[in-house]
Symmetry: C2
Subunit: 140 residues, 2 copies
DNA sequence: TTTACTGCAAATCTTTTGCATCAAC
DNA sequence: GTTGATGCAAAAGATTTGCAGTAAA
């Protein structure tokens, strides 16, 4: 299980250079409570290091994805969000009304996963599923 | 239950002008076996009516969405797909390896829908869920 | 010193918008 | 004849890329 700062270690061990830009991108992702977008990461990094470029953020995210250190999810449409790959709970209920994002317990999806395997021989990758609908407050 | 051509009727009855461009966009959606993208609709329309503009396609889709005559789904990322709103509920298994799209029976998702309502008071809109993973042929 | 990484600017791709013209009603 | 719909061109938003300079190792 990765602790804070682990992603940077892994990068270093694999021979990737630990530039301040990369470290700040990684730390933004690790310190985010929830999924974070490229733009949000960029804002955080720029605050301390004003001349970083957003393309560096994207290139770092690309690298982290390739190494399976972060996962990307498309919770909205048109803006992808990132999240450390080993930080559990990757299911979300997204309210179409108010935009609220509710974390979903993994166990609720196990029966579905089993059924898909049984009836369709389909190995479902349910690590980052987003289910849209209406939350309690927004009712129907 | 809408028959072929019904969307155009509905548009007309609501006072929207039945331009050839609109009719062709609507017909492309109605005749598509599966979900169709804006770009694909555009190609079909341009083939017969070479000077239509893709912005017209988007404007028509926008209108049809607003009137709940078509539904949009985000099966991939970065490109949305369209589908007549009343053409049954589609769930898809999307193979990450070969891209195959397998239609999924609605009943498999009912338990999940119930569980979400029960445990989170969340009214899930599972009309167009896409589940990614690996199909039989691509194994794991 | 080497070459991976970065910043910058420009390109891409999808979708949206302003505006003058045009055609469905 | 009106007014809503279209075409065009340009903008917008997210992401990618080419290239020459820079700094991590």
């Amino acid at each position: 299980m990765n602790q804070s700062g682990h992603i940077a270690d892994l990068l270093g061990k694999q021979g990737y250079r630990l530039t301040p830009q990369r470290l700040m991108v990684v730390s933004a992702i690790e310190n985010s409570d929830d999924h974070i977008s490229a733009e949000e990461i960029y804002s955080q990094v720029v605050a301390r290091y004003p001349n970083v470029n957003i393309s560096t953020v994207y290139r770092t995210l690309e690298l982290l994805k390739r190494l399976s250190l972060v996962t990307e999810t498309d919770l909205e449409g048109g803006r992808v969000r990132y999240h450390p790959a080993d930080k559990g709970h990757h299911h979300h209920l997204v309210c179409q009304e108010c935009g609220a994002i509710i974390d979903l317990d993994e166990s609720l999806l196990e029966p579905l996963q089993d059924a898909l395997l049984r009836e369709h021989n389909f190995i479902a990758d349910l690590r980052h599923l987003a289910i849209h609908g209406r939350c309690v407050r927004c009712g129907r």
